[in-house]
Amino acid sequence: MSAPPTLSHGTTSESALVVSNLTKRFGDRTAFSEISFEVGYGEVFGFLGPNGAGKTTTVRTLGTLLAPTSGSATVAGIPLSADNGVEIRQRIAIMPESPGLYLRLTVTENLEFFAGLYGLHQPTARIKDALEAVNLADRASDLCGGLSKGLRQRVGLARTLLSDPAIMFLDEPTSGLDPVASLEVHNLIIGLRQKGVTIFLTTHRLDEAEKLCDRVAIMNQSLRTVGRPDELRERLFKKALVVRTLAPLSDPDKIFAHLAAVENWRSEEPGSYVLSVSDPNVAAPEVARSLVGAGADVLSIAEAQHSLEDVYLELINDDVEATKS
C-alpha cells in the first residue's frame, strides 16, 4: 500500500489528513462548521453523526468534489486546493454510500473502466487482486445489474482498492447490508488496517465504529469530540458500579451513603443500584462487605460498561436539548 508521501520540500507528512477550521455552507445552510482534526497514516478513523450532520459533505469536500467555504486541509500530504484536485484524487479512493456501478457492464468491465481512469499499469492483475480481496473473483464476468446489493457494495469496495490509495474514504460501507455481508465488509476493513491503509469511515453504526476504529469523531455540524472510544467513555461518564440484589434493599441509603468510596447512588429498578465511584477496585469490596453486613442477598457487583452508543447519545442529546432551549 502507499507509503506516506514525500512532500515537495523533501519531508514526509506525519498525518494522512490534517483538517483545520474547515467550513462548508450551501447558501444560508451550514453543512459543517469550523471542524479540525488529524488522521494518522494507517489509522481507521470513524466519523459518526446523525443524519444531516455533515459527514458525507465532509468526505466530498476532502475528496475535492466540493470546495470548502473556509478553512484548510491537507489530504495525503497535499494541500486541498483547486490546482491539486487531480493529484489528491490520484492518491485517495472514495466509496460513496451507493456504489454507483454501471449495471449493464460486468464486474470486470466496471473495474477496467476505473483502472483506466487511474491510469493503472497491468490493470488485469490489479483487478484480479481487488476481486480476490472482496471474495468476488468468481463473479467477475457477471453483469453488475444482476448482483445483490451486498455484492454491488463489494464491487464498490474492490473499485476503491484498485488504485492502491493512501487514504480510503468509506461512506456508510455497510448501509443496507445483511449481517453476513456486513461482517465480510468488516473483515475486509480489518484486513486493510493490518496492511496499513488509512481508512476514513463514516457510519451510523456505533457497534461498527467501536469494532473497527482506532479513533472516532462525533460530528453534528460542528465537531463534538474526537478520541479513542475508551477515552471518550472515560471523558464523558463517571465510573460506576452496578449492584444487583435478589430482593430490593429495605434502606439502600443506609447501606451506600456512609461508604467513603461511593459518591452517590441511584436505583434503576427494584434490586438494581448504580453507584458513582471514583475507583471501582476500591469501592467494590467495600460495597460487598456493607451489603453482606446488612444481610442482603447479592447477585452481582460489576463495573458499569458504557458503550460508544452511550457516548454518542450523550453528545447528540446535548445538542437536541440545546436546540430546544
Partner: protein, 256 residues
Amino acid sequence: MRGPDTTRVLAVMRKELLEYRRTRAIVVTMIIFPFFFLIEPIVSIFVASPSGSAASLDKFVTFPLLYMLLVPVVMPSTLAAYSVVGEREQGTLEPLLTTPLRTSELILGKAAAVMVPTMVLSYSLYVLFLLCVQLFAHPAISSAVFHEGPVLLALFLFAPLVAGWAIVVGLAVSVRANDVRVAQQLGALASFPIVAVVLLMAVGVIHATFGVAFAFALVILAIDLRALRIVSRMFNRERLVTGTKATRSRTRRVSP
C-alpha cells in the same frame, strides 16, 4: 495547465460505447432511425422526371442531398443530452468524479463516444444512397446528383461538424438539466439552426458553392471548438453532486 490525458478520454469513450452496445433500445434506434432519413431522398430521386434541363435537375437534387445532413444532427442529440444527466440519474456520476478524471477529459470522452457511431452510420447512409443512385436511378438524375460537387462535399464535410454542434448542445443541456427527459427534449433544439441553413440552401437563399461550403465549415468548426470549452466550464461538480449551486469560497474553487 496540463491538457487532457488521452488514456482517460479513451477509457470514458470505450465505456460509453460498451454501454450503448448493451442497451438494446439504443442499438435498435441507431440502426433503424437513419433509414427514415433515406426514404425521402430515395423517393424524390426515383420519382423525379429526367426530362428537365440540366440546371433544373441540379436544383432538384439539391434538397434530397441536403436533407440527409439532418442525420448527423438529429441522431446524436438524444445520446449527448443523456450523457451527463444520465450518469447523475443512475448514481454513477459521483464515483466518476472521485477519480483523477478532469472535466475536459470527461466531456471529450463523452463527445467522442457519441461522435463515433454517428459518423459511421451517417457516412454509411450517404454511401448507400449514392450507390442506389448510381445503380438504379435514371442516368440523367444520377449525373445530376454526382454533378452537385459542392453539395456532396458539404454532405461529407459538414456531417462531422454539424454532429459536433448537436453533441456540444446536447452536452451543454445535459450538464445543466436535472431530468433526463427534459435534457433530451432540449437537446433536440440543436437541430434547429442546421434545419434553417438546409432550408435556406434548398430554397436558393444561400447558393451552395465550394467557397460557401468551406466558409460554413470553418465557422461551424470554430463554433464547435468554442462551445466545447464553454461546456467544460459549465460543468459544475458541486451542483452536479449536491444539486445546489456552488457558493463563493474564501479558498479557491476545487473543480479541475
